[in-house]
Symmetry: C2
Amino acid sequence: MKRAVVLVSGGLDSTTTLAIARAQDFECYALSFDYGQRHKIELEAARNIADALGAQEHRVVQIDPQIFAGSALTDDIAVPKSRSEAEISQDIPVTYVTARNTVFLSCALAWAEGLGAFDIFIGVNALDYSGYPDCRPEFIRAFAEMANLGTKAGAGGARFHIHTPLAEMTKADIIRQALELGVDLSLTHSCYDPTADGRACGLCDSCQLRRKGFREAGVTDRIAYAA
Amino acid sequence: MKRAVVLVSGGLDSTTTLAIARAQDFECYALSFDYGQRHKIELEAARNIADALGAQEHRVVQIDPQIFAGSALTDDIAVPKSRSEAEISQDIPVTYVTARNTVFLSCALAWAEGLGAFDIFIGVNALDYSGYPDCRPEFIRAFAEMANLGTKAGAGGARFHIHTPLAEMTKADIIRQALELGVDLSLTHSCYDPTADGRACGLCDSCQLRRKGFREAGVTDRIAYAA
């Protein structure tokens, strides 16, 4: 059975990605990050999801928050709320975390090489997304190229593949795909700024993209919202 | 004054690299990593060096050792000793740490972007080195390309430069360059497997490359060796 490292944040996209990797018969090593994010509740979601979807192992890796600074996801900066679709899709928002996917994929690569895994799955998406540069296909391609040059396995001729099965899907597509694969989406957590009792705020960009996706898919979202 | 992030391990190469960055008038942000290496004494050396060379700030970032596995630098695997020059230059040794420079540079990139710094210095060297794939110029080029695609700054048109001033130097060249810049090389630490009281073993690949460099440069190495 081929091994894959799958980045699992606890959200809709990475959960669907894990389900897809499992459906492709990969033995999955789920990887989550504790990087000082204010929505740390997603790590609990990630653990439940890794269990429910039959990951071989789940690791939560600590990322030293010293390297990230100035993001609304990690610092005392307000998470934008109730923005219009046009606003969400326009600029790179303050929830951008510097080089986050580069750091996450680098850690995934280090673990993968140690495991003898050459497949890494990440749930990036360039349609219904927040405009983060490190979700774009050209970034993913450049990362794979670098990975093949910067590892012992790559220098020895192995090829790392960075799978982005959601790249071309809308949020509604992702939801439909997850349901087809039997995923319980009530386990997932998307909100950037959850309430103390763990409900989604309903108003941040991530909540809005999620709700729009469920609406368009014609499916009821069973997680609890504060607004 | 332009800012640069400089990877400083406490060794000969990264110290010389910091001295070069300072000589090029960069305001230097020194970055070291605690990744569970057995030669943790190098972190103390790094702090002294950052001070002595006038770094603006020095951060020691924790890397979760869960992501690295199976290296003689982190695990209970013997560090090779007394290998011949031919053996040292032949294969990628067991001291290889999976994707280490990818992880280190990714963290440097995240910090740099937060600082508004577009210059990152790393003391990799492809002549008198241990054969690590992530020291090669083609890897460094690929990393820079990826960095420009995967960051908000890069997406906005900024260009990150990964400086490798030692790339074409022999160890003897590096030592001469350091002395020309007035660096006190007795502050540096190179050994992979130091004694409990902090002396260099004298026999690991890194000690041997260092000693050969001092010999060829005709300079006395003032650090303490156990053998």
